[in-house]
Every structure is written in C-alpha cells, then in structure tokens.
C-alpha cells in the first residue's frame, strides 16, 4: 500500500519534474569539480616553474574547463495508458506492486502500457535513433498554403504538407516554396547535423492588376 502511495506521489509530481526539465533544453554548462581540481593541482606544481610555463598552464586549465561542458536537453516524453483483463485459476499476491495474475494470462498476455505495445518504439527512443540522425539535420517546415510546392536547390521535393519534417545532410541549401496565385517564398538555409531548424513560409497572395485598378477608382 505504501509503495502504491509512493508511486502515486511520484506520478503526481512528474509534471513538475517535466517542467523543470524543459528549461534545461537551453545549453547549460556543468563543470565537474573532480576533474577541475585535478587540473588545478597539476597547475600548482607547474606554477613553481617559469612564469611563461604558468601562462601556458592557465591556458591548459581554460581548455580543460571547456572540455567539461555538458549540455542537457529534454528527449521524448512518453505517456502510457493500459488495460488488461485476466481470467485464471491462480492468483499471486505480489507484495510490492499489488497483484498480478500468474497463470494463463501472465506473462504472455499481460500488457504493460510502457513495456508491451510501445516497447519497440521506446527502445529506439532510448537509443536516440528516433530523436536525431547522427549526420543529418532536421528542417521543420510550416507553409501556408499547405499544398505549396517545395523546391530544394531548384529540385522539386514535394508538397509542404508532406514535408513537415525533412532530414538533410549538413550544408547550405536554397529553399523555395511556391503556390499558384501566391508570391514565391525563398530562403537560404543552413543545416547542421543533429540540429533542428524551423521555417515558417507564409506565402502572401499576389495582387491582381485588375483588382488594384478598380480599387484606385473612387466614386
């Protein structure tokens, strides 16, 4: 019972945990004290030598500090809901986590929301393969209208509604988005590996020459 209450508290506090985690997407530098003290100790010994060497030590110390930076970012957040029904001859009381029907249903048919159906998905998330491709950058394109045609370096890539997320090799590209009756959108984009780039292409309607002429006429 106590374990269940504890789990419930953890569940209730998890949104707060997520809120705390989100700001960490921004780069945060964490310095590891142990490594820093090791470097400072080494530089203390070197400080007894020539002043020129001391300067070099400072530089090395700075380099060492720069080597210790860690960037924390929020990965995929998973929520699971599950339901299972059991029917069997035996019942096993599990002291920590309530009861589990060991018999006909378990473990073959028992479905845990996090580790049964979505287990294959979560596996790839935890390994990082769903979050980022190692040598590619992500381009998130939002276009208005959604049926606009997208061209990359002059080559037709598809319509915007099918290209909401593109993974491109690191490099510079000319992105064009065009639609009938709209002004063409053009942007030079720079894609870095493992970096996400958001692009909002809002194509303004072209003014019809006749309509402009009519608007200028005053009664």
């Amino acid at each position: 019972m106590a374990a269940r209450v504890l789990l419930l508290i953890i569940l209730l506090t998890s949104p707060a945990m997520l809120l705390c985690a989100i700001p960490q997407q921004a780069s945060t530098a964490i310095q590891q004290d142990s490594a820093a003290s090791a470097v400072s100790g080494w530089s203390k010994q070197a400080g007894e030598q020539a002043p020129a060497a001391a300067k070099t030590d400072d530089k090395v110390q700075k380099d060492a500090k720069s080597l210790q930076k860690i960037h924390v970012r929020l990965g995929t957040v998973s929520f699971g809901l599950g339901y299972s029904y059991f029917s069997g001859p035996y019942y096993y009381q599990y002291p920590m986590f309530g009861f589990y029907p060991y018999g006909l249903t378990h473990p073959a048919l028992f479905c845990d929301p996090l580790w049964c159906a979505p287990a294959s998905l979560l596996g790839s998330v935890y390994s990082g393969s769903l979050a980022y491709a190692a040598d590619k950058g992500e381009v998130r394109l939002t276009a208005d209208p959604k049926t606009a045609e997208v061209y990359i370096d002059g080559a037709y890539a598809g319509t915007a509604d099918h290209l909401k997320t593109m993974w491109l090799d690191s490099g510079a590209y000319d992105l064009s988005v065009s639609a009938m009756g709209r002004k063409e959108f053009h942007q030079r984009i720079y894609v870095l590996s493992r970096k996400s780039l958001k692009i909002l292409a809002r194509l303004e309607p072209e003014k019809a020459p006749d309509a402009t002429g009519e608007a200028e006429v005053k009664p």
Partner: protein, 228 residues
C-alpha cells in the same frame, strides 16, 4: 563611348564583390537607420551591435560561443568607389587600450566547431504510465471464483549520455556549413560603389556594463562609433 567608360569602371568595381561569393545583408535605406552612424568624406557608415538573442535568431551557427557580432553598412558616394576590408575595422571596450580585429568566417567556424567537439549531449526522456487490470481467478484456499481489479502506475526516466563530439556543429562538414553561412552573411570585402552591409565577428566576450566602440578607417580617416 563616353557613357560606356564609366559603366565599365562601375562593373569592374563591383566585379570583385560579386565574384568573391559573400553577399552580406541587405543594407537599410540610409546609414542613420542604424543605432550608430557617422559620415566622413561623403562615405556614410552605420553599425549595430547584435544582442545574444538576435545572434541566435540570425545564425544557425552558435556564434555566441566565441564572438560579438556587429552589423556594419557602408554607403559610398556614387562617383567614388569605396574599398572594403576587414582590416579597416576594430572593436574596443571603451576605456581600454586594446582593440580587437574581426575574425574571418573560416577562423570563427573552426572556433565554434572546436568548442562543439568538446561538448557532451545528455538527453533526458521521462515516461509515465497508468494502467488498470481486472479479472477473475480461483482462490486456491477457498476454491471460490473471485474477481479483482486494480490500478497501477509507472514512472521512469531514461538518461542518454552522448559521446564527446555528438553535439550539433561538431563535424568537419558542419564546419564547412558554418563557414559558408558566416561568409555569406559577413560584410563583403572588395571595392564597391553601391551600399553594402554585413556582419563582422569579433572574438571577444561582452561583459555587462561595458560599452563597445567600433573603429573604422574610411579613406584613411578614422571614425569611431559607440555601439549601444
């Protein structure tokens, strides 16, 4: 014939800017549209210091890691082509004696890549699960068929620690891309008769409550602009 000669001269003057690749930025209509501006010998210059947020929005490369970015625009007179060189610019912290020259796109890109190479990317993936079970079983003691139900919850956090060099912008190819971006957005060098604008990258860190001054040499005359 007389008309062709000036046209040819203008084309020759503009050619180095076109051929060199970098395009810079679109200059504002006049130098006085920039927060800092001055005029010397019929050449106007405007400058603006970019904040960290502006740099983040303007560049994909993380220029904030190494540099202070200043947008500079030059407005030469039409009849006098103006040479543009990075060596003509420097930034000085007001009150200090040391001035810093702008770095080239190649140097800045290499600096950012080196910095990114040493980063470790840590990914935190939280997960929450709620489930409900119900069913019937035969009680082994009484032999009666009993129905039970219950709710369970799960909370988990997965932490992935990347290898050094897994941070964005750490590969050789990324360095080329960053160099391309910085070069294309940088102030074009060469000789120009038309207004030009672009970014300059100064390898220094701006501290709070310090004011920077941009020094530029226009036709041998030194101009100092205070960057707000």
């Amino acid at each position: 014939m007389n008309r062709k000669i000036p046209l040819g001269l203008v084309l020759l003057a503009v050619a180095p800017l076109v051929a060199s690749g970098p395009r810079g930025t679109v200059p504002k209509p006049a130098a006085n549209r920039y927060p800092s501006h001055a005029e010397k010998d019929s050449v106007s210059v405007g400058a603006a210091l970019l904040t960290s947020d502006e740099v983040r929005k303007t560049f994909v490369s993380e220029v904030n890691r190494c540099c202070v970015v200043v947008e500079v625009a030059l407005y030469p007179s039409k009849d006098k082509p103006q040479p543009v060189s990075l060596d003509d610019f420097a930034v000085r912290v007001m009150g200090s004696e040391t001035a810093v020259k702008p770095s080239s796109a190649k140097v800045v890109a290499a600096s950012i890549q080196k910095s990114a190479e040493s980063q470790r990317d840590v990914t935190v993936s939280p997960s929450v699960g709620v489930g409900h079970e119900s069913g019937t079983y035969v009680d082994p003691v009484t032999g009666a068929r009993t129905s039970r139900h219950g709710t369970y919850t799960e909370v988990g956090v997965a932490v992935g620690i990347g290898e050094p060099g897994s941070y964005p912008g750490s590969s050789e190819r990324d360095r080329d891309t960053m160099q391309t971006e910085l070069s294309e957005k940088g102030l074009p060098e060469g000789t120009t008769s038309a207004p030009v604008a672009g970014y300059l990258y100064f390898p220094l860190t701006k501290k709070k409550n310090t004011t920077l001054q941009l020094e530029c040499v226009l036709n041998g005359n030194k101009v100092v602009l205070t960057l707000p």
